[in-house]
Symmetry: D2
Subunit: 334 residues, 4 copies
């Protein structure tokens, strides 16, 4: 019974069918009919004109966004637990040609206006110090917390006041949108987000994320950077088709709701005492002793050792509710 | 009737079936069962122990190879018509952090030992000049010419004598292997090739190439570079499965033979006077007047204007022989 | 009797005296009184508001200029014999993070509007090809030819029409200015130059060049890049003082005239048959047989083997006229 | 009365005289007689064969060292207050092409074996995490603390055990050597240091630091990197001469002792209560109220506001003892 990672899940049937359906001769790269529909589909979803590019991974999508927002001699502010800092082997530094990530502390991998301002104030003005050019937040965060539209807008207001770009790592944006019931627009550009990675792979996709520019003109240089990074697949239609299958209906929300529902059940079983942070998306962080972790594993549950005394359990669009309920019972029984 | 590019072709049924078959939960990234079979499958194909990594594009595969073979302050020798110089928007410079490409002239995008030595001799010894660290050749070349095992070995001998690494861009390696009937081993490591990109996408694949290290230890740093470039897909099994479908049988050769056969028919119809270079792989370069090009297009044939007075026609694994014969007839009738 | 390189010459007394005079406590980096005078001194020289930064080497100055004019995914057009292509070990690629240099042929390392346009036209539009963002010329060229104000304006006009920045490598700008008697303004910004390296070291300086931005606002990011490259010396006043000594009087022109005068004498002795290109600055390129070269060396003349059958002789501000006349006589006697 | 920075000090007479003395024609770059003496002079000083390169700034010297010790996809461990992290505008990231700096906490900007091991243990093994390749320490530290030979050896032992390179930022190495009376060898290579920046500019130099490779073979690639960074000055003899003047006698220690003596007087006047950290080199960090800081400034003392409630006072080789004693008295009187 796998609760290890949403990356281990399968592709959902609708996505796979769309990929198979795209197996027709068409123009190479992103000149095909599917790729050309992306801008329109995301503009409809976000209720504003956007430019949307398919990207094979979230790591590349995040890094391309940062390369647009920050020059090599600049800095990006993010949480110390951010995926871009901890889990991408320096991809942001590769794509930005060495911009610095300046780190903020705070519970649940979540930035607040106050913690952001405090970090910004530590950087003196002058050429000896890489100046902040952008802020990056993750929604849902690496600890499964959610930024509401208001939370994001408060961060966005600091960015606007300071002249900083705002990037949103949306690897689990669907889970955040499903949880908050806020519109995609309210969670992003209306709150000041400039560029976002719109995650599909953790939500039932196979090999495609979308990189969304809320100012379409800002996508131009990224088209060159995508090619230069070897990310312009010659048969891009198979990526575009996956994404369209996700968002042209409400599949992305349905899948996310299924995952959120599964994690909520586990979180309720665990109770606030045992939770490291509240369960707001599809991740559950439990405080367990090594013996308790071993006991759960002995019952067939697979999960990730996150930190000493903490484990992470992740649900996904295809989580088996029987497994979920078994896990919930096992946690109650600890 | 499309003869525009082998990138426009579809994925062949066996590859697509393998991808669909891989839609099972497994370990993320390249920890899954399919990815783990790559080393063995390519070691069998090449009759030596190799390390094999899936990469989503040939551009990334080539650039990762060059990053392993050449430091940022070094230079790579290649033909002036090489794909890495002309068609990758500076990807080799991105991945190598700015190594220089030093260019060699010569017919049909093909290097010879003499032209290679001549270029090498132009670089003075000393810190003012980026020193060559590697050579890159493409087989079949960008003009559809083939390096035989002996051709490659002659280049490899120069590389060994000069202490240079040898990279092979094998986007159309299958076409070269099918044409020469040489063993993959003879065309590569026995001829001195250190790292190669083994192309699948132009040969009926969907979204996966293989990067082959003939010294498996040299793959280690590339695993980090692949991650850092955002090319470690979280569901890598779908890429590995495509590649395995290609090489665990003889699909890669069957597909290439079909494409080669189609181009040969066109080349024979054209005759030596009209051909820019002989037809050895799946590309035909014709000398045509603008009027002749227009006449062909008026009959429904689609192709690429390569240079003033030259057009390129590309066949692929799924070229319709009726279309091929129609094209051959139309060329004869010019 | 050294005619090997103007880099081997000494610092002229006025420059050395100014450096010694600057040995007083002052603010670090470029906050001192000397550094603060640079903008004004160069604005007077160029008859327009400029920003001027001291840089320890011409290689760094050129590369910083290119980094301002061209993004990492872009290309710079220059002559195939340009210093930035041939003699800087990839410094432009380092500073631009891998932009490509696209090369133009032509006699005497000199670009013409026609050769420039021809090269530009070879780059297709689209993301597969690094798009030109800037042009770089060298005045005097690496072969000692001079761009007149009109020559430069013709290049500048192409740049403006194409939306390209124009960089001038002025390592020997003083020699060009002395030869043409054109005003510094006419040779640069009035002709369309955006950024130039104003050479001092080859002209009697010790360790300082000036990087001139004809749009002062464009200097801002370069201040960060200079620091980031380790080129913001903590005691910058010693560099600023050298430059001021050069340009606040007419020392830069006096020194260049002396060098030009010496090379002219040698060129006249050689005669047009023996000259590879006309002598217009402080370099003489002679066609000589190996025996002739040996004969000159046997008489005590030291110089550089430029290419098979060609040698380079360089004069400088402190060339001993007795040596120059001895060399002229020896060449006549060949 | 300036206690702002040792960068504001003048060049000492011996250094300036040596520079003037070097104003003779010689071979360009580092082919001259002075540059060729560097290896021997430093080998004598360090009692082992070293390679020594002149570099115009400590920032460039540090960054070149890190580029040799750490690949672009790797990480360097340093203190969170290290100059390379805080005051070089991302120069290490520029030269290493984006390696990550992983930060260690601890008093006085000093690493301990325990804090180093603790940080290392936080990095999981695997391609998702930039793996540590090197450690960088500063002696004397950015807070003026000194690593004894034993302190350094303890860090070096961790590096050896973990397979990490060890870089020493020696911008104020002379002050540390003068304080500890340890031999240069014991403070460096015998303690496990691989490469060091040997500072001169803060110690009476004008524009030259030395980069020392304790394994001379490791200097080879750095010669190319130095050129590529525009740091190979064409008249290098003026830099080499400064360094030789420093180390061929005991000038470097005499100057450092003078600076240390001045800071000690101030530190004694301040007393342990008022000191942020003990005074071990030429920097004094005082706890003062805004009113106290203003009072000192009103008496003509110039210094740097380091942090809320903390000021930094720096002495140098030429500190006027009358000023020093006046300052000491003023601090006592607070």
């Amino acid at each position: 019974m796998r609760f290890f990672s949403d990356n281990a899940a399968t592709a959902c049937p609708e996505v796979l069918a769309a990929l198979v359906e795209a197996n027709r001769m068409d123009t190479a790269y992103d000149g095909d009919a599917w790729s050309k529909r992306l801008d329109g589909a995301f503009s409809a979803l976000f209720e504003t004109d956007v430019a949307a590019l398919w990207i094979a991974t979230g790591t590349a999508a995040n890094s391309l966004a940062l390369a647009e927002l920050c020059p090599p001699h600049g800095a990006v502010i993010c949480h110390k637990d951010a995926h871009i800092q901890n889990d991408e082997c320096g991809a942001p530094e590769f794509y930005t040609h060495g911009a610095k990530l300046l780190l903020v502390e705070g519970e649940g991998a979540k930035l607040t206006p106050a913690s952001l301002e405090e970090r910004l104030d530590l950087v003196p003005d002058g050429v000896h110090w890489a100046q902040p050019h952008a802020v990056s937040i993750t929604n849902a965060t690496e600890y499964g917390l959610v930024y509401t539209a208001e939370d994001t807008a408060a961060i966005g207001a600091v960015c606007r006041a300071r002249g900083l770009g705002l990037h949103l790592d949306g690897a689990r944006f669907a889970n955040a949108a499903a949880r908050t019931n806020a519109s995609p627009a309210d969670l992003t550009w209306r709150a000041g987000v400039d560029i976002m990675s719109f995650g599909c792979v953790k939500n039932g996709g196979l090999s495609a994320e979308a990189l969304i520019f809320f100012d379409p003109d800002r996508a131009e240089a990224t088209r060159y950077r995508r090619k230069r990074a070897g990310h312009l697949l010659s048969k891009g239609r198979y990526l575009a088709a996956q994404i369209l299958a996700m968002i042209e209906g409400d599949l992305w929300l349905r899948n996310a709701r299924a995952a959120n529902n599964a994690s909520s059940r586990i979180g309720e079983a665990a109770g606030p005492e045992r939770l490291v942070v509240p369960v707001e998306a599809n991740e559950v962080f439990l405080k367990v002793t090594p013996e308790e972790a071993a006991a759960l594993r002995a019952q067939g549950f697979d999960f990730y050792d996150w930190a000493p005394g903490e484990v992470r359990l992740v649900t996904s669009w295809d989580s088996d509710l029987a497994h979920v309920d078994a896990l919930a019972a096992a946690i109650r029984a600890l």
